[in-house]
């Protein structure tokens, strides 16, 4: 498959991610920030987000596993994750965080656990999709092409 086809693939994939709400406009903002002085800006930021996600999801899991559950603590983690997800435009993750916070406020443990599950799912989906995206980008760059940005 040549560069053009790869690029088309990439565009389609990006468009799909946007359409399905995996990413929102913030992601395209990040792409716009990428320039010669920081050619891997988006990947770097996304990597930081992945790190943050793992850490925070761990923290949430731990906090929910405690007896008794400190909902304030859980909420703090979720709030942090909400901010983190907003940084890369992870819209679906962010939305789950919002619901999660409501459950924390009402101290609904079952709801919280459900949300944590959802978060983990959403995160894994997002991660897989993004990694696929980056692979496509690499392929394109290796073939000498340029990366199409989200319109």
């Amino acid at each position: 498959m040549d560069v053009l086809q790869l690029q088309r693939k990439l565009r389609e994939h990006q468009a799909a991610m946007l359409r399905e709400g995996f990413l929102d406009d913030q992601f395209s903002q990040l792409q716009k920030l990428q320039d010669e002085s920081s050619p891997d800006f988006v990947i770097e930021v996304v990597k930081m987000f992945f790190d943050d996600s793992e850490k925070l999801l761990n923290n949430m899991t731990r906090a929910l596993g405690q007896v008794p559950v400190d909902f304030k603590q859980v909420d703090a983690h979720v709030h942090q994750y909400k901010g983190s997800s907003a940084s890369v435009g992870a819209a679906r993750v962010k939305n789950v965080c919002a619901t999660f916070r409501n459950f924390c406020e009402t101290q609904n443990l079952e709801g919280c656990v459900r949300c944590l599950q959802q978060l983990q799912n959403e995160y894994s989906l997002l991660k897989n999709n993004l990694q696929y995206l980056f692979r496509l980008q690499e392929q394109i760059q290796a073939a000498g092409g340029s990366i199409p940005t989200i319109e």
């Binding site: 007896v67 443990l109 894994s124």
Partner: protein
């Protein structure tokens, strides 16, 4: 104020380029993004991930920054507290940011003196405009000074004291300042009060009275002669013996003079109390609101009279959001109360009064110093009760507990040290990592009990979401996925059948493709096949 209140544009070209911004955020991702964005605006950026660090930087060099942007939620210090510190100590404009845009929070920010409250995610255009806050603040400060005096009393008095009349440039500068502020104020004023000895009295716009050094000197002499207490515009006018001067001219000048003197008095008083120093700039996380209030109160001890205040609950006062609104309404009341203690309200006081509630506080003389009160700024929720769910007792809760523990095990967290996991997991973050990271060893065998998590059925049914990918978030095992869905199998086999020379996917990528489909896999295969056919 740096450069005697000059704006950055007077120091370098192309304002607002070069605006010196200090960004404070505990989230490193945001810090990176904001730094990049601000640099794109041609601003000079310094980043901090800790509020304490930021304050230290600000205190080290008071004129090192033009504006501060800070997140609201930070581990070591509440963003509002930082805001108070900065506003009171450095008097810089502060912009708050948060992913939480609840009205109450925004209001809190405004009440604490934030000049703006940005919602994350923040757009470039929002950052581009932050320079307006810097400019506005400088203008506002300048105007305050001018509206009080409209005339550089300080400069004039300095001249008079030195017994020399500086070159007329200075005088005209004073006159110019006078003009600028006065014309602003006097837009609607009755022009017939203005006269000049050679002015055209019939013209609708009269020339402004220029209070030169000599004129002011005469004025002061007259005032002193009469005695400040007994002074009145008519008496001054008579003594001054300046024919073209009107009573109204003198009256307005006298008013300004009085305000100037009172401001001097205030400054002297402030200097007295600030020498007592700031007590305990503690950043005890347990009392997020304490030190800022203490410091501010200590700084302006004479301004806030301690007498009438009493502190309930051993000095701990719960600030509730409703109280802020109440305090807003009662600001004037408090100002009056303060005024009765012979304190002249100044602009800084309004900030403090916003924080001072409709409550009474007493000094806590713990260290021989006067502490006014401790405040705890509440978090968003009132956590009145610790959740008392006893997981051991309730059988239903037991299943929940097991459910809780299963994700724990699955994520390998509770059972093993977190530190070990994170490096392992971080390997999976590398884009080229094809090997499945067994950071979730229990996953394959661990069953996420669908009966406990109804939403997962949705995932099962909808191949759009990558099928079993929902159950094994961090696995990239090809076989695992192939087994889950016929569709996947079909497509994969279809792909395998294609001549590899047409392929750009590496084998690892093939495995990833089905997992990461967003749209229906059938469609995808159609699309792909058509590409390959071509």
């Amino acid at each position: 104020m740096d450069n005697n209140g000059c704006l950055p544009c007077t120091r370098r070209e192309g304002f607002p380029a070069g605006l010196r911004v200090l960004v404070v955020d505990d989230d490193p991702t945001w810090l990176k993004i904001l730094e990049k964005m601000l640099k794109k605006c041609s601003y000079q950026v310094t980043t901090c991930c800790l509020a304490t660090e930021a304050l230290k930087k600000l205190r080290e060099r008071k004129d090192a920054f033009d504006i501060v942007i800070s997140d609201v939620n930070m581990p070591d210090m509440n963003g509002f507290k930082l805001l108070e510190h900065v506003g009171l100590e450095m008097d810089l404009p502060v912009i708050m940011m948060s992913v939480d845009g609840e009205t109450s929070r925004v209001m809190k920010g405004v009440q604490h003196g934030a000049c703006d409250y940005l919602l994350k995610p923040i757009r470039m255009k929002e950052l581009r405009n932050i320079w307006q806050h810097v400019l506005r603040k400088r203008i506002h400060e300048g105007r305050e000074f001018e509206s009080l005096e409209g005339f550089d009393f300080e400069g004039i008095h300095h001249l008079m004291r030195n017994g020399q009349d500086q070159c007329c440039d200075d005088v005209s500068l004073f006159a110019l300042e006078d003009c600028i502020s006065s014309t602003r104020k006097r837009k609607d004023a009755d022009n017939k009060h203005d006269e000049r000895e050679f002015g055209d009295s019939s013209s609708t716009k009269k020339a402004r009275v220029v209070w030169s050094v000599d004129l002011h000197q005469k004025f002061v002499q007259a005032v002193n002669q009469i005695g400040f207490d007994k002074v009145g515009p008519k008496k001054i006018l008579d003594l001054m013996n300046v024919p073209w001067l009107t009573r109204e001219n003198v009256a307005s000048h006298l008013q300004k003079y009085r305000l100037y003197l009172s401001r001097l008095q205030k400054q002297r008083d402030q200097k007295k109390c600030s020498s007592s120093g700031i007590k305990n700039p503690d950043l005890n996380p347990k009392d997020p609101g304490s030190s800022s209030i203490k410091n501010s109160m200590n700084k302006q001890q004479n301004v806030v009279s301690i007498d009438g205040f009493r502190c309930p609950n051993n000095g701990l006062v719960q600030l509730h959001e409703s109280d802020f609104t109440v305090s807003e309404l009662n600001k004037t009341e408090q100002r009056r109360a303060l005024a009765t203690n012979n304190i002249i309200p100044d602009p800084n006081m309004t900030k403090v009064s916003q924080i001072v509630l409709n409550q009474t506080f007493s000094p806590l003389n713990s260290e021989g110093n006067i502490e006014v009160f401790d405040c705890t700024i509440p978090t968003q929720y009132t956590w009145n009760q610790v959740p008392k769910r006893k997981l051991q007792d309730d059988p239903k809760s037991q299943s929940i507990a097991s459910m809780v523990s299963s994700p724990s095990a699955a994520s390998s967290i509770a059972s093993s040290a977190v530190d070990n996991i994170i490096p392992v997991q971080s390997k999976s973050l590398m884009v080229n990592d094809q090997s499945s990271v067994t950071s979730n060893p229990g996953l394959k065998t661990q069953e996420f009990d669908a009966s406990l998590i109804p939403e997962l059925e949705f995932y099962q049914q909808n191949l759009l979401w990558g099928g079993e990918a929902a159950f094994s978030p961090l696995e990239e095992d090809l076989n695992f996925f192939l087994l889950q869905s016929e569709c996947y199998n079909d497509m994969n086999f279809g792909m395998h059948n294609i001549d590899t020379s047409d392929y750009y996917y590496d084998p690892g990528l093939i495995a990833d493709v089905p997992n990461h489909l967003l749209y229906d896999s059938a469609d995808y295969s159609v699309v792909d096949q058509s590409l390959f056919i071509a």
